[in-house]
Amino acid sequence: MRFSTALTAALDTEMNEHLLREDGQEDLCFAIWRPSRGRERLTALVGDVVLPEDGERHVHGNASFEPRYFLRALAHASADGAGLALLHSHPGGIGWQGMSPDDINAERRHAAQTLVATGLPLVGMTVAGDGSWSSRVWRRTEDGYNPDGCESVRVVGQRLCSSYNDRLVPAPAADGRLVRTVSAWGERAQADLARLHVGVIGAGSVGSMVAEALARLGIVKITLMDHDSVQLHNLDRCLHATRSDVGRAKVHVLRHALLSSSTAAEPDIRASELSVVEDEGFHSALDCDVLFSCVDRPWPRAALNLIAYAHLIPVVDGGIMIEAALRGMRGAHWRAHIAGPGRRCLECLEQYDPGLVQAEREGLLDDPEYIRGLPEDHALRRNENVFPFSMNVASFEVLQFIRMVVAPGGLADVGGEDYQFALGRHLRDYKACREECWYATRFQARGDQAGVAVTGNHAAAQAARLARRTRTTSQ
C-alpha cells in the first residue's frame, strides 16, 4: 500500500497561520484525518485542526507539548471516528522535509496510543518555510513503530499545489521531446505536472483527446477508464480508433496509441474496462490526484462529484450541447470547469440531474424505449456531436487543468468556461455552490466516512465486457 496526504487550501491557510510564526520559531499542533482508500493508495484527508490552548504547548526555538494536549486531541479524533495527525513546522526549510531525532521521538512516542485509541495510524506532517508539506504514516512493524513516507501531499483549492517526496516520486527527466513545453513554464512546474497521477474517466471523443494531450505533456501516470467498446458511430470522433478497432475495448485502443504519443521517459498508462460507478473502478479512481470527467451520464457524474469533495481529488468536467434544427444547425455551446473545494460542484453547475441517477442505476437510460418516451428536447435524447467540438472541449478542459496546477501569472481559477459556437462568444461562470449544497459542506474531506454509497452493479458495463470476451472466444 502506498500513502499520500491531502488537505483543503482553506485548512492549509489556517494551519500555516499558526505553524509559520512571525518570530521564525517552530510550532506545532494536532489535527484529525479521515481515510480515503484506493486500490493501491491510502490517502489521509486532513480535516479539523485542534489548536493548543494556553499552556498546552511550549515554544522555545523548537516546540513541545503537554500530555493533556495530546489526550484532548486524541479524544476529539476518537469521538469523531477519525485519525490523529501531529504537525510541526521547519520555518527555515524548503521543500520536502526530513525528520530530526527529536521529531522522530516525538511522533514515535505517541504512535501506539494513537493506533489503539483511534484504530488508525498516527500521521506526522511538517510544513517548511516555503509552504511545502511532507508527511508520513506511523505503522506498527515487527520492530515497533516506524514511519512510512507518503509519496505526496496535495493542497486542494482554487489551485492544486502538490509537494512530492523526491525519494519515492523523483522528478521525471524531461528529454528533448519536451524542450518547448518546459520552456513555457519551467522545469519545476513541469516536474509537478508530470508527477500527478491523472485519471481519464471516459475514453470517447473528449476523453481520447484529453488523454492524448496529457501524454504529450509528459504526464507519467495516466489511468484510462471506460467499460465501452468502439462502435462504428464512434469513428468520426474517437481519436486513434479505426474501422479495424470496432468491437474492441476503447481503453485498450487508446492506451496502445498513447504509449507511442507519450513524451514521458517511462510512461505508466493503465487501461481499466470498469465503470467509475463499479466498486473496483471507484477505488481505482481514488488512486488518482486529478480526474477528468469525460462522461455524459448522471450516475458517473454523481460519483465523480462525491470524489471531488469527499476525497479531495479535483474533477475536470465539461460538456457539449448542439441545437440541431430541421434545416441546418441553430447553434452549439460547450463548457469546461473544475469541481473541487473552493469551486462550484457538478450538481450546482447542473451538469447532471440527481433525479435521473436512480433511472440509470435501473438500466433505463440504456433502454431505447425509455429514451424514446422522454421529451424531444431532453438532454438524454441529444446525441449529436462533432470532432472539432470535442477537440475544443478537450482543449478547454486540459487548459483548466494546466491553469489549476501552473497558475500562470498567479491565476489558478478563472471560473467555468462556456463557449457559444454560433456567436463566437466566450463566457465565464464565477458562481459558487448553493448555500445548501451538501458536497461543499457536509461531505468535504470526509473520505470513506462520507457515508454515501454511490457504487453498484452496472448492467451495461457487465454486458459490454461479456460481449467482448464472447467475441474474443469465438474468433
Binding site: E347, C348, Q358, A359, L364, C437, V452
Partner: protein, 112 residues
C-alpha cells in the same frame, strides 16, 4: 442513508412501513388527489443506497394503475405491481426529505 433512512422518515410522517431489504420499502396509502381520491393502495419504492443525495426513480403501485403519461414498467415487488418511472426534477434545490418527495408523488397522482 438509503432504505432505512427513507423508512424512518416515512414512519415519522405516520406511515406503516414494511422494509423488504435491498432498499425496497412499501406502505399502505390513501390517494389524496385526482380521479381516484380516497382509494386505498400500496406504494413501494426502491430507495437508492445514497438517499437522500439521490431520490427514488418513482413510485411502484399496486393495484397496477397506469399513468396517462406512460413510462410504466414492471416493478421489483412482484406481480400486480407496476413502476412509474418519474424522476424528481430539481431534487438538488430541495431539502431532500421524504416529505418533499411525497409531495412529488401526490402531484403524480393528481395527474390521473
Amino acid at each position: 442513508m438509503g432504505g432505512p433512512e427513507f423508512a424512518r422518515q416515512l414512519r415519522d410522517l405516520g406511515y406503516q412501513v414494511t422494509e423488504q431489504g435491498d432498499g425496497n420499502v412499501r406502505f399502505p396509502w390513501e390517494i389524496p388527489v385526482g380521479s381516484r381520491v380516497g382509494e386505498l393502495i400500496t406504494l413501494g419504492f426502491t430507495v437508492p443506497p445514497d438517499f437522500p443525495v439521490t431520490p427514488p426513480g418513482g413510485p411502484c403501485v399496486t393495484p397496477a394503475l397506469q399513468h396517462p403519461h406512460g413510462a410504466v414498467h414492471p416493478a421489483p415487488f412482484g406481480s400486480g405491481w407496476v413502476y412509474w418511472s418519474r424522476p424528481f426534477p430539481g431534487w438538488a434545490s430541495t431539502d431532500r426529505t421524504v416529505r418533499t418527495y411525497m409531495a412529488h408523488v401526490r402531484h403524480l397522482f393528481g395527474q390521473i
